[in-house]
């Protein structure tokens, strides 16, 4: 057996202390401004509701391209994230832009379905034009110890993705321990994930810094071993620019400069963009806007 295949143990207390240390970093002035712009550029603007409609998706896509036209020099978000049946609508709305389309798939969010249906779901997303596929792992199989099942499923879905990048959602809120998070990260990475992602946003807790740190460390170890970069996407629960900056500090101090782009790091969030816009507005005006100055799409 390859030595690198044994996931290292994780000490929860140590992880939490390290996170506390990131959070004492004081990000001021130009570092703060640039950090916020970068965070904005890393957002996967997301709508994943039962009541999603073409209208809702179109409006969100417009927002993705026009975050706040009164502030100069703003980037767009990285991507929009929708269900596979809305990919076509999003594709049309985002035509000609660099904003990517991510589609959740594989019986999102529970992942409780047959392999056949999951693969079909992925095919629909990809055929409709998704650039990225956000799959969920089978947490039930994982917790039952059927790691092979989880691995094979990810590998099969990676194959079905073709050239679309695959994000693998671990749903860490259901994995219970950081040791499990590390194990699931290693399985996903070795099975072919291009990105690993914390959560669906449907389960509490969603993304937390300790969980994200453990996943970043798994990415780091894989990179050290193979030279292959894997992306990271914390999703759900990150709603303030202060939190986003803390995640970026953690990213920088764990994986370094190379990962500091939306090619390798994303925030899955729906309300983070507006908080960043509020803070950017404050930097520009010296005072906080009313939140009514910021569009709610």
């Amino acid at each position: 057996m390859n030595k690198s295949w044994i996931s290292p143990t994780v000490d929860q207390v140590g992880v939490e202390e390290r996170v506390a240390r990131f959070n004492t970093r004081s990000i001021k002035k130009e570092s703060k401004m640039q950090g916020m712009l970068l965070a904005l550029n890393m957002i996967d603007l997301t709508t994943l509701e039962g009541k999603d409609t073409a209208g809702k998706v179109k409006q969100m896509c417009y927002k993705a391209l026009h975050l706040a036209d009164d502030i100069e020099g703003l980037p767009t978000v990285a991507a929009v994230c929708v269900y596979s049946n809305h990919v076509k609508t999003a594709k049309k709305a985002l035509q000609g832009s660099s904003v990517k389309i991510a589609s959740v798939a594989t019986a999102f969010p529970s992942g409780n379905s047959s392999r056949k249906i999951k693969l079909e779901d992925v095919k629909i997303a990809v055929t409709n034009g998704a650039d990225e596929v956000d799959m969920v792992i089978s947490r039930g199989e994982f917790l039952a110890g059927n790691y092979n099942f989880v691995f094979d499923e990810i590998a099969a879905i990676k194959e079905a993705c073709g050239s679309a990048r695959l994000k693998v959602i671990l749903e860490t809120g259901e994995l219970s321990t950081l040791d499990n998070v590390r194990k699931a990260s290693d399985i996903a990475i070795h099975a072919g994930a291009d990105f690993i992602k914390t959560s669906t946003g449907k389960i509490q807790p969603a993304a937390t810094m300790p969980v994200t740190l453990v996943m970043l460390q798994a990415i780091k170890d894989y990179y050290d071993e193979t030279g292959i970069m894997i992306g990271m996407k914390p999703a759900g629960g990150i709603s303030t620019s202060k939190q986003a900056l803390q995640y970026l500090v953690m990213l920088y101090e764990t994986l370094g400069e190379k990962w500091m782009t939306n090619e390798w790091f994303r925030f899955g969030a729906s309300s983070l963009a507006n908080d960043i816009l509020l803070q950017l507005g404050k930097e520009k005006m010296g005072v906080y806007y009313s939140s009514d100055y910021i569009s709610k799409d």
Partner: protein
Amino acid sequence: MSKSISKIKQVTKEKRQKSVKSPPTVAKRIASVSSESSVAKKTVGIFSSLAPAPESSDHIQLKSQYDLFINGKFVKPLSKIYYDTINPATGKKIASVAKGNEKDIDAAVKSANKAFESWSKTAPKERAKYIYRIARMIQERAREFAVIETMNGGKSIRESRDIDVPLAANHFFYYAGWADKLEYAFPNRNPKPIGVAGQIIPWNFPLLMAAWKLAPALATGNTVVLKPAESTPLTALKLAEIIQESGLPDGVVNIVTGFGDCGAALVNHPQINKIAFTGSTPVGKYIQKAIAGTNKKVTLELGGKAANIIFEDAPIDQAVEGIVNGIFFNQGHVCCAGSRLFIQENVAEKVIKKLKERMKTLIVGDPMDKNTDIGAVNSKEQLNKINHYIKLGQKEGAEIFQTDCAIPSNGFFCKPTLFIGTSQSHRIVQEEIFGPVLTIQTFRTIEEVIEKANNIPYGLSAGVWTDKGSKIFNLTTKLKAGVIWANTYNKFDPTSPFGGYKESGFGREGGVHGLLPYIKF
């Protein structure tokens, strides 16, 4: 994990590598992202040189000259001599401080002796009130204490703010609680105070060490003459101001600043009943010789050269954090610093690689910047000593590693340093350096590492990193060290006793055990 997975892993890995390298679509997509995203380009390097986040020093109150605190008043030294205390991060003078001598010590001891008559008879719960008050006043002025501690000692503001000052307040709170419960700590033994305690404290944790010494002495009904280290007297003198404001009866605490002769006078004074010393082993030996044949009680907390042991089954990323915290905390000016790293040979390469990378993210520089991880070395003499050992290590043939971090040109700074490939026979492994210098050795078996860890005249602390609880308990019974941390390092708490074996001293401070040196039955 099973074979079938390994097989698939191989297949998918090949696939992935292919897809990353060959299809033009992916490559094109990456290219288009980076060219379109001006943000990504602009923000490269945003966290490699953070915008300065200096803590303000506008709010602190410092006098230009400090006198001795004797019998509840600030009095001029009999010698009329003052010396400069400096900021080690800039080399500039902060204030002048009284240079106490033998006569000042005599006055202080006499005032403490007089105060003992009534203080020892004060109702314990009344004693507790004063100690609680001091604790609260430290909390109220925490920010001021943190800034002065950093200015005078060179440690980063993050540490003085988050560790030194809160812990100092906590020690007073903790021992205030014991004051009226001593009979429960020592049932049926009728504990009584000893008398006048002479306390000599070091420069690495000036306020915290003052708290460690004062709090249990006061709680048990003793009076005190405290001598701060000559290079870092300011927070102790600020504490004297608080003690004065708190209304603690005159003479219960006296603080005499000065040099070695002043400390010697304190040790040799006939009316001292107990010596508590934290500092170097040579001075500890001097003290023991000096008090031989007297009735003085003594506790010594001296040097250390702790083993920090990483087993193959350790949580590696957290262990790396523990190594960093063990040796680079307070610029390595920590008697219990994990300065000898032992790594099980089969994970050594991995741990050292990760350690080096982690060291690259450490920010060395202005201690007043909130982002600084490693501040200034406490004094020029100490920096010279550390540099001597760094040269020695290279001469001894150990492989040196330092990050290429920028360090300020003024003041006393030292880059975090590793020595790789060392053995027990290296002098840098045997002698206490008291700086940010870590020696690394490898080991194969538990027996081997226990033998090496104990093969040193010191025995203050040790660290063990493993996922196995049984291994931890096995080691804690066999390592000759007063404090052993498991899967963490440099953790301090008022409830936990601290102290050494062998040449690291004897007696315990903190916890119930910390009361014992200050009472008789």
